[in-house]
């Protein structure tokens, strides 16, 4: 019970800070935001020249930032390997045994 109250208070504190911060952020949807810089401009203007495909999002995930996508395929691989390993290892013997025996 105490744990729940402490967690709730911590989350309320965090929430106050985060919401206060939200009011000071760059305005939502404003074309003059810091994120709309030369970075996104290059993706939009040169995508045909650079990658030769019209879908900019696909161009980013499979070419500009393909290394991230490789990492992400690795996450999927890690997840499936983990699930198979855990389910296979616990399938029959050893289940429910305690550690110190």
């Amino acid at each position: 019970m105490i744990r729940r109250i402490v967690a709730t208070i911590m989350i309320l504190l965090l929430g106050t800070v985060l919401l206060y911060m939200t009011s000071e952020m760059p305005r939502f949807g404003d074309p003059a935001n810091p994120t709309n810089n030369e970075l996104s401009a290059r993706y939009m203007e040169d995508v045909i020249e650079d990658v030769n495909i019209p879908n900019i999002v696909t161009a980013i995930i499979t070419d500009y930032r393909a290394y991230d996508t490789l990492g992400e395929a690795t996450v999927l691989f890690a997840a499936i390997a983990s699930v198979l390993a855990v389910l296979a290892m616990h399938s029959d013997s050893g289940r429910g045994t305690k550690l110190d025996e």
């Binding site: 990658v51 019209p54 879908n55 999002v57 161009a59 290394y67 690795t74 691989f77 389910l87 399938s91």
Partner: protein, 141 residues
């Protein structure tokens, strides 16, 4: 589940869902979608079949050994495509300039994007099915 209507509808719908999934994968670079969305749709179609018609039959379509092969092969293809550019003396995962890229707006455009999307699609579909069958059935391996 032994509902006749459900089974029939599923069997009629299956090919359409799969064709749509393949379409989403193949057209990922021209329209919204891509390996992730399309792969999930493909995987979901098999799961739908497993749930409504027969889990055992679905496993017959996609056995464990094949799943493990596809899992490993698809990621390996990704890494090896990256290493090809390394062999050609360019940086890892360099695309244009190494891989041919025909005119804009066609299916094969964009160098290695097509094979990469296919690999991701296969990987995601396979992962979804394997996760489902293993959590559902937990066979002995």
């Amino acid at each position: 589940m032994n509902d006749f209507v459900l089974q029939t509808v599923t069997q009629i719908l299956m090919p359409f869902i799969q064709v749509y999934g393949i379409f989403v994968v193949l057209n990922g670079h021209l329209s919204p979608g891509g390996g992730f969305a399309g792969g999930t749709i493909l995987g979901a179609s098999i799961i739908l079949y497993a749930l409504t018609v027969d889990v055992k039959a679905a496993e017959g379509i996609y056995p464990d050994e094949r799943a493990e092969m596809v899992e490993s092969a698809s990621v390996l293809v990704f890494v090896l495509l990256g290493l090809i550019s390394l062999m050609m003396g360019r940086n890892f995962l360099t695309n244009i300039g190494i891989f041919p890229s025909p005119e804009t707006g066609t299916l094969l455009t964009g160098g290695f994007i097509m094979p990469v999307t296919l690999a991701i699609g296969a990987k995601v579909a396979s992962t979804v099915i394997t996760l489902f069958t293993h959590l559902f059935e937990e066979k002995k391996s």
